[in-house]
């Protein structure tokens, strides 16, 4: 229990003023613009959009600046802002198969239709600090251009599914649950946990995904495919009655291919874990796919004994805005609570001493 206490307004006001000054840093240096954050700290912006569950590069960049680079605080700011906006409706499901590919790799097939496209990746860099970036630089040369290949890039999972070796997804067009409107009622369908994972904390999901690889969940994943690029978002306004294009957004999709021993009704085959996130968020998409596959254990008749297989454990703890709210609420005055604990402890010690 915590009680309302008065006072401290002056201290709070001054603390905020100091925060503002600290955010600005050395006034002799030029101030960072929101556009600079959006353009030059793009992956921070992407992460904030994903975990803030709101795609808007400008708002996410502003949140990063306001939060002084604290990305969880920035996601919190974005979540708070989205509550001030009305919802016009839901889009048509995006067609990631028709993605305008910037990056597409498969760890399961070397030669696949459309090929391996590396895109703007950190993979294969040596992770040595590049001091050239710390110096004033000449304009950066534009990246080389190749000859665009119009070959469609089918999903790796589809190649396997055509052979009957990949379990098909259910194709029910039922209205999916929305955890921003309806509370979680366990057990929840996969659509609900995919929404939760898509906005879940990257670090938390990374740790959980890693745990499934290390034996807590017994998964044997292959990165069947990772793709990143623009998809068109279509929306059907009620006044028009047909779908129109709202614009493009960048998404990262990961298909993890996992073994499945089969069951009484199904032959042994591969199953998939699925990750989809706003922006270029490859680590997050991969972690999401691992955890998604973990959560499918029950559906596939596998033992449920690892943290990443427990719906309640994963979904109640993956949201960093919720988690930070409860952890950080410990900073609020608990004077009365603590006073009672203190008195109890003193009386116990007194009794023991008697």
């Amino acid at each position: 229990m915590y009680v309302a206490v008065k006072g401290g307004e002056r201290a709070i006001g001054n603390a905020h003023a100091w925060l503002d000054e600290t955010r600005r840093g050395d006034p002799a240096l030029p101030e960072l613009s929101v556009e600079q954050v959006e353009q030059q700290l793009g992956l921070a912006v992407d992460r904030v959009m994903a975990e803030g569950s709101c795609h808007d590069r400008g708002l996410a960049a502003l949140a990063v600046k306001q939060a002084r680079g604290d990305l969880i605080e920035a996601a919190f700011l974005l979540r708070a802002y989205r509550t001030t906006l009305a919802r016009f409706g839901a889009s048509e499901p995006v067609e990631t198969g028709a993605m305008r590919i910037q990056r597409r790799i498969s760890a399961t097939y070397k030669d696949l239709p459309g090929g391996q496209v590396l895109g703007p990746t950190y993979d294969y860099t040596h992770r040595l600090l590049d001091f050239a970036l710390a110096a004033e630089r000449e304009a950066v040369a534009p990246a080389p251009e190749g000859v665009a290949d119009p070959t469609p890039m089918p999903r790796v999972t589809e190649l396997l599914a055509k052979e009957g070796l990949m379990r098909r997804e259910t194709t029910s067009e039922a209205e999916p649950p929305d955890l921003t409107r309806d509370p979680l009622n366990f057990p929840v369908p996969r659509a609900a946990w995919l929404q939760a994972l898509a906005r879940g904390d990257e670090g938390f999901l990374l740790g959980l995904g890693y745990s499934t690889q290390r034996g807590y969940g017994n998964s044997h994943p292959f990165a069947g495919e990772i793709r990143m690029g623009e998809v068109t978002v279509e929306f059907t306004p009620p006044e028009l009655g047909f779908a129109i294009e709202l614009g493009e957004i960048v998404l990262t999709e990961c298909q993890m291919v996992n073994q499945f021993a089969g069951s009484k009704s199904e032959p042994p085959q591969f199953t998939r874990g699925y990750g989809l996130v706003f922006g270029h968020g490859e680590r997050k998409a991969m972690a999401m796919a691992l955890v998604d596959r973990g959560l499918r254990a029950e559906e596939l008749g596998e033992p449920v004994d690892a943290p990443a297989q427990s719906q309640e454990f994963v979904l109640y703890h993956c949201d960093n805005v919720e988690a930070t709210g409860f952890v950080e609420h410990l900073k609020l005055p608990h004077y009365v609570d603590f006073q009672s604990e203190l008195e109890k402890l003193r009386s116990l010690r007194q009794e023991a001493g008697r």
């Binding site: 708002l59 409706g89 995006v94 030669d111 090929g115 190749g146 955890l179 306004p237």
Partner: protein, 138 residues
């Protein structure tokens, strides 16, 4: 409509300089910013799920002759949405349609196609050409 949604306010306004002046209009709704819940598919091709929201701005306008125009565009640019709604109405008018398509929509579409093609060419430059034993010998 997708072309106008993808263009920035500045790009649309610049193209309009070459077009005849647009008729006056009345705002029926908005422009106002809100959210659209973006949906994905489970496993990429299964049933839908809610991925997360995106900001969208919408506007509906009416021309003096009663023609209605609607626009929904990604982002929060109120003036872009209003201009897109106005153009949507004007594009339904036979006397304006041809010139607006030629001076505004088609040039914007061409620029967008070129921007997309540039990304595709940069992606193509990062496509891996594997050397197999066979062609290493040749």
């Amino acid at each position: 409509m997708g072309v106008l949604a993808r263009a920035t306010l500045g790009e649309i306004a610049a193209r309009l300089e070459a077009a005849p002046p647009l008729p006056t209009h009345t705002r029926l709704r908005g422009p106002e910013s809100g959210l659209v819940m973006v949906r994905g598919r489970q496993g990429g091709d299964g049933g839908p799920f809610n991925l997360g929201e995106m900001t969208v701005t919408r506007c509906s306008v009416r021309l003096a002759d009663g023609t209605l125009g609607h626009a929904y565009v990604a982002g929060r640019d109120l003036r872009q949405a209003e201009l897109a709604a106005l153009l949507d109405a004007c594009l339904q008018r036979p006397e304006l349609r041809g010139v607006l398509l030629a001076e505004v929509v088609q040039p914007l579409a061409a620029r967008q196609a070129e921007a997309a093609a540039l990304v595709a060419r940069k992606a193509a430059a990062t496509k891996v050409e594997f050397f197999t034993m066979a062609n290493m010998r040749s």
